[in-house]
């Protein structure tokens, strides 16, 4: 009756769609399944920052490749290379900035340190309280709202089946592969790739795998259209602020402040106790923002593991089961790492090493 796909990809975000496109190109027949709409999870609600300065040192080579992928997608995803500043407002932050940006520069990012006078030239509306700053000309952003539209179009063009609003309730393994159920509906596939962000732990558990994933709940806000007050991406030495003003004048404010809720309960909710400091910090950096109206604040889930590195590889001891999730920088790296994942599934040697989901996780030290 129903055909058996070569692979069922659970999660229609950047990771899942990117992998599906690569896999199809390699000659396999994938199906993409999503509990909601294509590209409407974290891929569609994150702040869209494509900044080298906020990428982790070890992930820099992946981020550079990912950035290139976004550039190729271009206008369809609202790609803009604007350059970006990272700011320090006190000596402690200046020290942090110096140490971190030097390491990121050594890892391949084009980062320079700039003095307050130069900062004022680049961003005249910034508060005159800056102690130190770094600049990267490659930084920019894309419009995450367009992720769904873009990937849906690409999947359609490549004749890849998509099944939306399919809430996976059960996965059975048999000699032919996997049977993925949502109520009465069943999808059969030889292989399975779990790439559903915040819900990854929940779905992996259906295959008996217990992954040390905790969902982060990142907060983003957007303002009404305002006169030009920023030219590029603005960040903070601690990583607690990202800002950019789109061509239409709206300002997007993020920085990873944590909201409330779990992926099992719904879409999460903002927490005023973290949203308000996020907005305070934004106004502190750009005082003109104070009179601008916030139109909407929201949250998105991000899968988090103790060492904050991606999960990309085979799942446990199982045949033909894979997992792909990316903490920290998943938006930037997604279009690239999903290709690597596709290659692994196709039996090709990926261009760069992947991140074994079965590794021993050491708590990464937060400094």
């Amino acid at each position: 009756m129903t055909n058996t796909y070569d692979i069922a990809i659970i999660g229609g975000g950047i990771m899942g769609c990117g992998a599906a496109l690569r896999i199809k190109e390699g000659g396999m027949d994938p199906v993409v399944i999503d509990q909601g709409d294509i590209g409407q999870g974290a891929s569609g609600v994150n702040a869209g920052t494509l900044s080298m300065q906020i990428k982790r040192v070890k992930l820099m080579p992946y981020a550079i490749k990912g950035h290139h992928e976004w550039q190729l997608m271009g206008e369809k995803v609202g790609f803009k290379k604007t350059g970006g500043l990272t700011l320090a407002f006190n000596d402690r932050e200046a020290e942090l900035l110096q140490e971190r940006m030097t390491m990121k520069r050594d890892a391949g990012a084009d980062i320079t340190f700039v003095n307050p006078k130069k900062v004022e030239e680049i961003e005249p509306h910034l508060a005159k309280k800056i102690v130190a700053a770094s600049f990267c000309p490659d930084d920019g952003y894309a419009n995450s709202s367009l992720s769904g539209q873009y990937y849906r179009g690409r999947l359609t063009d490549e004749n890849i089946d998509t099944i939306e609003r399919f809430q996976v309730s059960e996965i059975n393994i048999n000699s032919n592969g996997y049977e993925i159920s949502s109520g009465d509906q069943v999808i059969k596939a030889t292989r399975i790739l779990i790439a559903c962000g915040g819900s990854t732990k929940h779905v992996a558990a259906m295959l008996g795998e217990d992954l040390p994933i905790r969902a982060r709940i990142n907060t983003v806000s957007v303002t009404e259209r305002a006169p030009r007050i920023m030219n590029g991406v603005i960040g903070h030495a601690t990583g607690l602020l990202t800002m950019k003003q789109k061509d239409n004048g709206t300002v997007l404010i993020g920085g990873g402040w944590q909201g409330k809720g779990t992926p099992e309960e719904g879409r999460g909710a903002i927490n005023p106790e973290t949203l308000l400091p996020n907005l305070q910090l934004a106004q502190f950096a750009v005082p003109t923002l104070s009179k601008v109206r916030v139109v909407r604040s929201w949250t998105g889930f991000e899968a988090n593991v103790p060492d904050f590195y991606p999960l990309a590889g085979r799942l446990g001891e199982k045949d033909n089961a894979y997992i792909l999730g990316c903490v920290r920088g998943g938006y930037t790296i997604g279009p690239y790492i999903s290709k690597l994942m596709g290659d692994l599934i196709l039996g090709r040697e990926p261009e760069m090493p992947l991140f074994d989901p079965n590794r021993v996780f050491n708590e990464d030290k937060l400094i």
Binding site: M103, Q149, I270, V295
Partner: protein, 453 residues
Amino acid sequence: MYDVIVIGAGPAGVNAAIEADNLGYSVLIIDEQGSAGGQVWRNKSSSIIDAPKTETSIKGNALRDALMSSNVSVKYEARVWHIEKCDTIWNIHVENDVLTSKNLIIATGAYERIIPIPGWTLPGVIGLAGATALFKEHMMVPGHKTVVAGSGPLLFYVANEIERLGGTVEAIVSLNSRFDWLKSLLIMITQPILLWQGFKWVTAFYKKTIWQSAPIKFEGADHIELVKIKKVDDDWTPIGKEQILEADSVCYGQGLIPAIEASRLAGAEHHYDETLGGWVPTIDDMGRTSIEGLFVCGDNAGILGALAAPIRGKNAAQAINKNGVVYDIGKFERFGKAMTALSIPRAGLLNLIDTDTDVCRCEGVTRKEIEHEIITGAQSPNAIKSGTRCGMGPCGGRFCADAQAMINEHVTGKTREDIGLPTARPPLRPMPMDQITEELNYDDLPIPGVSPL
């Protein structure tokens, strides 16, 4: 901490507050306007305070007096931007303040349904309900030569007020037929005073009323000058020859939509019921929602109008107690539903929305763009919004969500219930950043841990 916070000081909210006060609860009522009354019993501005009394000003004053002589605390000119329930306590975020209560009654009323036709955003074209605010608060008329167009009883009320205040009604263009009204009149018999008033209005404007017709286009260089209208069939599809009316102002609207943003943000279950104006919170006969300690009353719980509102308010207060008394709204409900029925959108209405007309006026998104997005696979309101920006502007989708869903219904054949709603998010109104935050003392900034290197 209050026992009860009421959001919205219209007839429903104020009656809920006073009833809760009478029951011995400590009560706070919050409204974004400068005084109680809501839209229907809106207070006059101070500049016209000595103007002759009207029925709405008399009722409004009685409501304000009753509130003043109660123990209810009031907070006016205050904007609620977020609502959250923490354990059993409601946190109501009002600008940079957090007010807390054990129970929350939402009485946020309604807003207008305005079907977007070519020229609907021209200066001089205003909503029917918006026009009533001009009359009540400022005694202003929208122009010298006004076309009043749309559906439902507001058409005749607005026309009557315009002429009472010295304006001229060029014509009433009513989607409803005489027969639609005749059916409603049978129910209006339960309200003889209103029936008589309605009868007076309709007869006064009988000659000026163009029945079963709709504007298809508003035209003008930089202000409304001409209204092009056509007859409509029983499905409200425009048919026949175009007729042209001259006007320097238009009052336009197709009924009211419950304002459910607050009850959605509070987490209550909602469902679609066209007989109540659209999406409404799912409630029992007293206004209890699916969330413990959350109650709704007034038009945001379903459009039943001003007559039912006070009783619905009292019921919501009684509902706090498991054994509260239920006041009967039977005849008011029948009357309210009969009035709401006149504005239930019919399928042909969609034919009025030209493909190049902006459906979302904040972001300039046309019907064609929305249809393209749906045809290429975006079918949920969230997905359509993400792809087109329809509903992303300052109005938060208040004015376009209904038309967008009508288009979706038409293209996909899905029901409104299946189409669903976009995710509810704060702030409930666009808020200037410095109004919701305190000034930052940088050293106090809570730094939850630097991101990993």
